[in-house]
Symmetry: C2
Subunit: 174 residues, 2 copies
Amino acid sequence: MKKDFPLKKVYTLLESGPVILVSTACGRHNVMPMSWHTMIDFDPPLLGCVISDESLTFKNLRATKECVVNIPTREIAPGALACGNVSGAKVDKFAKFGLTPVEAAKVKAPLVKECYASLECRLHDASLAGKYNLFILKVVKAWVDTAKKPATFHHRGGSDFFIAGRTVKLRAKK
Amino acid sequence: MKKDFPLKKVYTLLESGPVILVSTACGRHNVMPMSWHTMIDFDPPLLGCVISDESLTFKNLRATKECVVNIPTREIAPGALACGNVSGAKVDKFAKFGLTPVEAAKVKAPLVKECYASLECRLHDASLAGKYNLFILKVVKAWVDTAKKPATFHHRGGSDFFIAGRTVKLRAKK
């Protein structure tokens, strides 16, 4: 079960570079995986996402100014990755790849039920969307299943990934 | 030994979200760790980096329009992280934390010898540096020790990190 999560802790979910699933709604729901994202500010949390201008997600985000950033774990990797190989213009990717859209609280784009975390976002700044496909999003509501040990997956190119291992404490040298 | 690495493969080093060490030179060498970065384009590789405007790195990058993005591994984590707790305005962090500056090929900022990868960068676009501390950098030369299995470390907030495990193949559902 995902629960409300403090916005000022959102950076702890994203800055380690997990593959994310960006969901949008504009008519039919759509969802795509990607890895090109970064935190930009802590609170309110701003994030930068680079989204191909050939994708339906790009069009939907421009049109609706909303999306949800969902963080999948290893268990659903095959379905999550499959969402990157076909266009939502042709296929209902939720239905085809076993993902469940769930109503969000503040945006019309759906949460992905199978992801351990979902961040409802509003488009904050599209000034570099034309030049670099870079959108700056503001997280307005965060949902996290804190019971899960998140085995996020992280892209190394092609079909190579690594799975996040257990969390360790690393201390700075004094 | 780090060797020349193809620019079009730079994304494989960065999109999994490792902690990086950004080195600059403006008078004395400086270096700081951070996690807020994303790929923006493949070839030439562009990357976005969010660098605090309270840091010496911010000032140096603005002034020299150059830096090196170095990728450390677990072995040097204590020294790498310590570089984030003190300002280069007060201390020579290379000397204090056991890092070795090595001359780069195309920029004046130094490579960090102890890092398995180093990317020489020129400032490409600072149009959002004032508003978000966001710099867009172009990688002009990449050096990688491909013999190393890179145990990069990835931040989860505070002193929590995970270490990248072995690379696995993940396939999309058909």
